[in-house]
Symmetry: C2
Subunit: 396 residues, 2 copies
Amino acid sequence: MYNEKMFRLGNKRSTIREIFEYAKKRREEIGAENVFDFSIGNPSVPAPKAVNEAIVRIVNETPSVALHGYTSAQGDKGVRDKIAANYARRFHVPLTGDDLYMTCGAAASLTITLKALSCEGDEFITFAPYFPEYAVFAQVGGAKLTVLPSDPTTMLPDFEALEKALSGNVKGVLINSPNNPSGVVYGEAVIEKLADILAKKSAERGKPLYLISDEPYRELVYDESVTVPCPMAYYPHTIVCYSYSKSLSLPGERIGYIAVSPQMEDAREVYAAVCGAGRALGFVCAPVLFQRVAAECDGMTGDLSIYRKNRDLLYNGLKDIGYTCIYPDGAFYLFVKAMEEDSAAFCARAKEFELLLVDGCDFGAEGWVRVAYCVSTEQIARALPLFEKLAKSYLK
Amino acid sequence: MYNEKMFRLGNKRSTIREIFEYAKKRREEIGAENVFDFSIGNPSVPAPKAVNEAIVRIVNETPSVALHGYTSAQGDKGVRDKIAANYARRFHVPLTGDDLYMTCGAAASLTITLKALSCEGDEFITFAPYFPEYAVFAQVGGAKLTVLPSDPTTMLPDFEALEKALSGNVKGVLINSPNNPSGVVYGEAVIEKLADILAKKSAERGKPLYLISDEPYRELVYDESVTVPCPMAYYPHTIVCYSYSKSLSLPGERIGYIAVSPQMEDAREVYAAVCGAGRALGFVCAPVLFQRVAAECDGMTGDLSIYRKNRDLLYNGLKDIGYTCIYPDGAFYLFVKAMEEDSAAFCARAKEFELLLVDGCDFGAEGWVRVAYCVSTEQIARALPLFEKLAKSYLK
């Protein structure tokens, strides 16, 4: 009567959603200040002031029909030109507005890209830990997602596994750096190595492997020494999927873009396939007011010093207690080793201390948990003694 | 290397897009005032003032993180409750916020609904003339679109053809009233007859046929005597796909909804499948600022008296010249019989008079052309003498 698969997708609450509902109930029972929800990846810092200023200015200055009307499917030309020019200047790549396709955020960037590239039976590779919706998104194009391991001490890709996995069915590799859930940034050496392998295998196969770079956390890095390399500068067959959700703190407004490297073979055809996939999936154009806001605020961020402070407090606090943590160069997640093999059981025990964490199994990494630090600094400070009690409960 | 079908979808310019480009070039050649583009279905009246007032007020009054944050996938609960309550009151149906799913506009409403319902090999039926993207949207769920004829004098569904076509593969019937491109409204008798046939056939098959009602033009009717019936009040297995693009004149902002009738069998399962399909296609939530604007402005419209004036001027003017026209009760399109069998040739000849019309073939109705009257009244007044010259050219 209806599509069973869609029913299951819509009916099954995600773990994070379950925790959200539990937290709501628990707050009513014991008071909001006593529940420590570290499960949600919502930006906790306000959008830069320029965002709301831009909204009001654009609304006041633009005639209604021009303001709220359709743009071309790929987005307003002026918007695309401006964002592409910023990108080209910053990363030294020859990107133009004609290589950019504005989207309704990161999920749309990914479904459109995967639909544009996929032929039936294709396979995309990603590395654990990974964002679990990738598997859902890959299906939209009839492709399947294969998850390869990472080095468990660094959470960086296992390149040996990659070389073995690059069979003829593989259409591309999907990376996410800064990473959700590990917070790890793939540095220049990692991107270079990845580019080398992909270039070599592409040449062997006589057809290119695509590198899809999911970068919603690109701007969220906290140390001067850390830069997020632009994969397009290292590998020609790169498609960047970007979203302003995290950088501008407006995840509900659904605005992002796809950038198709003009240096790839058949770049115009791939770009046209992106346009076709957007059309097929029902994205007529990205929301137009926020296209304009994105163009005006491109390159800005919310106050990252808050996330940095949170990261330092949480990372150092948990290390001091004795937890094994992956040092998070970016995003707003800390990946922590569970104190028992069964990370679901560890999360259940954490819950007894009112600490709500997400089991790493949801990200393909059993034995680990994700602690989202996009919360108030005060919540972290008050939670540390509870993390200590949790740790001590394993010494008994 | 990429998906060929998506490439073709993205690479082939639609006829309307071709005309758009031609008009641009032609305006440069002979002056904007001498080109009469009747091809585009963009609202030409401003959004109601309340829209921009709501934007500015919401932005000024709401803390940033709450304002721009994610809502639940189906949309903000308060937004859904308010819109559903308006709907229930207006149409006397028991719709609640839990039956409503906010979307990124009509195209998204349709792709999500079709994906939610479709199993491989399913068929959806619609009636010519019809919006050609329906065929593209049906494919997203692996279904195919079958186009049945309408009565050529009324442009209302051919029910005999429908009864014959309702085979076991048919999952549902997709209607669009007020209709793009004919402007016809399906009155109560039509909806009743349709509901009867669907109910009878559903009973025979032992499984329900769905009625999908695509209603972006619902508010755009011009005579006191005309009302647009609410299909949900006549047939339980109804899913309404709505968009605020035309009623509030904000097509670029991408905001609409899906309403799943709670009176259908397995209504909760179908609603869950809608949620699943939205997730699978990459719609995380509808743009949040415009969810709130829609809730505040639900039921309002732009100044419809302008469209009414345009319709009357164009319809009466063309009738007086001798054209055969379908009287358009709603939307902002007039369907006109071409003066030769080959409507493409008629459009080509109209072009020589600087009249840019859309060939009915694009809507499955050869021999007809669509004239969009969402233009300035003055453009229509100045175009009538050219329509007269065009008609006279056939008398020679």
